[in-house]
């Protein structure tokens, strides 16, 4: 735990990516494989399933410190990170302890993971004992592991770069080997760095190739005929794998979607083995996509009932082929992969379909087609360069997303609360309202869109214009108007306003507008599809 905590601190104490990569490289070279495996596991954003309810951690902290519960909550609201709050509060009751030399894998496998099956009393004794025995930095890292919120400002890309330096392998190879259900064992860590790949995991997806937003005019991309255009679908990006007689569905967030979309799995059962498709999971009826909020009803459901499958039918709309006949096809040109895709699934039908290229023969025609994207139930247009391979991650140049400009509404700030992590102790999470008669009804929460200087200024304004406090949330004088951009709008029974906004964010601080000039609820409802 000591070495891993030191790594955590080293990563936390530099803002330079080169420094972060060097710190990880040094760790991976020195640490025993059993520890390094767990470090890879945590640094790539994987987490232990919740082992201890946070209510228990809070209760034990109150017990150890003797402080009232409200004081802990006020403190948490100010710190913005529960693991850190508890670690800092607990450095009072205990004497400064010795450094802890127990290796990370022993901590995780022999101490932390067994907590799950323990009786509350035994769990309490164990955790209180560890808290007393660890210095504050290590207690903090332990709490991070216990709360399952281990984030240290390192992207997976940086972890891959460090591993590439240690192993001498290509970053693309390592990125692929780290996909899917990576097991934190010493053998897996050694296999990760092995020059020869061995023992492939059947369920392992490929790293996704991500499109970059097109900000310039598409004519800057050269000739229209060098590009294949498709709709940009508004669903969940996914990979459909058919290997060893089994079917695996992965989301871009690398969640295994097993059992969630039985109609897609059923349709995939007829596919040949050794096949990986890239595409979009969409709610779909007849030949038309349904709004994203229909798909949302399916996302959280592990075993959807027949009723919900009827109400919110889903399909996998394939647009690329990454593996066929068990062979990696990612280096083949785009047209060849599309050709193969057509050979395998034809035009598709039912729950497995194939995305069509858009005809529009020149940029002007394509631009006018793009203007109809919303009516087509899409977000805009994807442009993919002919002849390009399937790359890894957000590599710019070959895939562009040319989205429709978002829609906007002018709304008044009603509530503010502190952010988390980097933005804790600064008011960064806001609730906005529009006029319904002479009252303001909340319509959206937004977190981003202002620059640091604006956030600082707004933070000061909020502190001096607070009307009431509700725990961490403050109501503020309804004076500040903001232009909010959003992607979509759907009717909602859960929201007081009757509408739900998709991806709302602040596009401008409208200091030129008085609150009375903000939009009305009727203005917003007029934008419903």
């Amino acid at each position: 735990m000591q070495r891993f905590t030191a790594l955590y601190q080293a990563l936390d104490e530099t803002t330079a990516t080169s420094g972060k990569v060097a710190a990880m490289e040094a760790y991976f070279r020195e640490a025993p494989a059993a520890d390094a495996a767990w470090a890879v596991y945590f640094l790539t954003g994987r987490r232990l399933r919740r082992l201890v309810p946070t209510a228990e951690l809070r209760a034990w902290t109150l017990e150890a410190t003797g402080m009232p519960a409200w004081l802990l909550e006020e403190t948490y609201a100010s710190v913005g990170d529960l693991a850190e709050t508890l670690a800092l509060l607990l450095d009072q009751p205990f004497a400064p302890p010795e450094q802890d030399a127990t290796p990370l894998h022993v901590w995780v496998e022999e101490r932390i993971q067994p907590l799950r099956g323990m009786a509350t009393e035994a769990r309490r004794d164990a955790v209180l004992g560890w808290w007393a025995a660890l210095p504050t930095p290590q207690r903090f890292v332990l709490n991070k592991l216990l709360t399952g919120a281990f984030r240290v400002g390192v992207s997976r890309r940086l972890v891959v770069r460090a591993l590439a330096r240690v192993s001498g392998l290509e970053t693309a190879t390592l990125a692929h080997r780290l996909m899917g259900q990576w097991q934190p064992t010493p053998a897996a860590f050694e296999a990760l760095l092995d020059p020869e790949e061995q023992g492939e995991d059947r369920s392992r997806p490929y790293p996704f190739f991500l499109a970059s937003p097109l900000e310039a005019d598409p004519t800057a991309l050269g000739d229209r005929s060098d590009w294949i255009a498709e709709w940009k679908w508004d669903g969940i990006r996914g990979q459909l794998l058919r290997r060893g007689g089994e079917c695996f569905i992965w989301s871009r967030g690398e969640d295994m979607m097993a059992g969630r979309f039985p109609e897609i799995e059923a349709a995939a059962a007829d596919l040949p083995d050794g096949l990986v498709l890239d595409g979009e999971i969409l709610a779909w009826e007849d030949d038309t996509p349904l709004p994203f909020n229909v798909l949302q009803q399916r996302i959280g459901r592990l075993r959807p009932s027949a009723k919900i499958q009827r109400e919110a039918p889903v399909i996998f709309l394939a647009y690329d082929l990454l593996e066929a006949g068990g062979a990696d096809r990612r280096q083949e040109p785009l047209e060849a992969r599309r050709e193969l895709l057509r050979d395998v699934i034809g035009d598709g039908a039912g729950a497995l379909r194939r995305a069509q290229a858009l005809d529009a023969g020149d940029w002007v025609a394509l631009a006018s087609l793009r203007q109809t994207a919303r009516e087509e139930g899409t977000e805009g247009i994807m442009l993919k360069r002919r002849g390009s391979p399937y790359r890894v991650g957000r590599t710019r140049g070959d895939w562009w997303k040319w989205k429709l400009a978002p829609r906007t509404v002018d709304a008044v700030m009603l509530y503010a609360q502190p952010g988390h992590g980097r933005r804790s102790s600064l008011f960064t999470d806001y609730t906005f309202g529009v006029w319904d008669g002479d009252t303001l009804v909340p319509v959206a929460k937004a977190y981003s869109g202002l620059d640091d200087a604006e956030i600082q200024r707004l933070d000061r304004w909020i502190r001096s214009h607070t009307i009431e406090r509700f725990g961490p949330v403050r109501s503020v004088a309804p004076q500040q108007v903001f232009e909010l951009a959003f992607e979509g709008l759907a009717p909602s029974r859960r929201h007081k306003s009757g509408v739900a906004m998709r991806f709302p964010r602040i596009s401008r601080w409208r200091e030129d507008l008085a609150p009375g000039e903000a939009d009305t609820l009727d203005d917003v409802k007029a934008m419903l599809p």
Binding site: T14, T15, A16, L71, T75, E84, Q92, R422, S424
Partner: protein, 334 residues
């Protein structure tokens, strides 16, 4: 029971029997000043009463013709119908608590204070009173300070590590109080020269004139344009972060010395590489201990987390506490 000896008004905290204000924020006839930080010592009053040690700092801050009367610590004098006296607050050089007595009733306004050892100013003195006006800048139980001598050791290690890596160590800290304290604490580790941002030079000079021992210093602006700062420690006010002035120090590592650095999010949000927890304010245990030490039956809490301190004093410590609205720096201070 007499009426409140000190009460909030539009111009500041006012003492009716003495007809004076404490750290007023609008121009007044008679201003009693606890210390020289900008939010407590403002322009435009007719007469300033302050400790002797505060005088040179106030003279730098206020206009030349301001009338500043230096007062001894612990020597009561009459102002109007009240008796007042200054007592060390341990916050920065010259910082004072103000004790006010009228008809047997004693109030103490602490200004900003701390209880920790600080080689640059006189230590806090406990002044028994009936009503104690306390600050609450760091009134949350996560705020607990380690001995600054140890933190200075961390700063020195960081400076050495930067030197080995060929970097300039740029440490941001407030120009009055914090900078001098760090320069004094670093004497335990080195005699190397530290470089100063221009805003700090006159204040460091003032501390030297007052007899405070610190590292040797040089002004950054006095160095040739192409001077290589690699391996050097540079002290600068936080406002210099991100300015073009910073370019000459590349490659640099940045640190910030403040009580707020106790929380990771505060450091990461500002993009500093390192945070060093050094505060010139009382931490949570010191706030509570000070209230107990004064024996005050009533406590008024000014800037910072007054809400938390007031509730805690009422509910847990059984002290009658209320918030007192002021215009002091509050949440951003330190």
């Amino acid at each position: 029971m007499v009426a409140d000896l000190i009460r909030p008004t539009e111009r500041g905290l006012y003492c009716p029997p003495g007809d004076f204000y404490i750290d007023p924020w609008r121009p007044v006839e008679r201003a009693v000043i606890t210390h020289a930080h900008g939010d407590h010592a403002r322009w435009g009053h007719r007469i300033y009463y302050a400790s002797h040690a505060s005088r040179p700092l106030l003279e730098r801050r206020l206009s030349r013709d301001a009338l500043i009367l230096g007062c001894d610590f612990d020597k009561p004098f009459r102002l109007g119908d009240a008796w007042i006296s200054f007592h060390p607050a341990g916050h920065i050089l010259g910082s004072s608590q103000v004790r006010v007595e009228y008809r047997g009733c004693v109030w103490v306004a602490s200004g900003d204070y701390k209880r920790d050892v600080d080689p640059t100013c006189e230590p806090f003195q406990v002044v028994p009173c009936d009503t104690f006006i306390t600050e609450a800048t760091f009134a949350l139980p996560i705020y607990r300070w380690e001995p600054v001598a140890r933190v200075a050791g961390e700063i020195h290690q960081w400076w050495r590590a930067c030197a080995r890596a060929g970097q300039t160590a740029v440490l941001f800290c407030y120009a009055l109080g914090k900078a001098q304290r760090i320069l004094a604490e670093l004497l335990a580790y080195t005699r190397d020269t530290a470089y100063l941002h221009g805003a700090m030079v006159p204040l460091v000079d003032a501390y030297r004139d007052a007899g405070v021992a610190m590292l040797p210093t040089a002004s950054v602006s006095a160095m040739p344009r192409n001077h290589d700062f690699a391996g050097a420690l540079v002290l600068a006010p936080p406002s210099a972060a991100g300015s073009s002035w910073m370019r000459r120090f590349r490659p640099e590592s940045t640190g910030f010395a403040s009580g707020w650095m106790r929380i990771r999010g505060n450091r990461r949000r500002r993009g500093y590489d390192r945070g060093f927890v050094v505060s010139d304010h009382a931490d949570w245990p010191a706030l509570l201990q000070t209230v107990r030490d004064t024996g005050a039956r009533r406590v008024l809490a000014t800037h910072g987390r007054t809400d938390v301190l007031v509730r805690y004093l009422n509910e847990v410590e059984g002290v009658d506490a209320q918030p007192l609205v002021t215009d002091y720096g509050g949440e951003a201070d330190d």
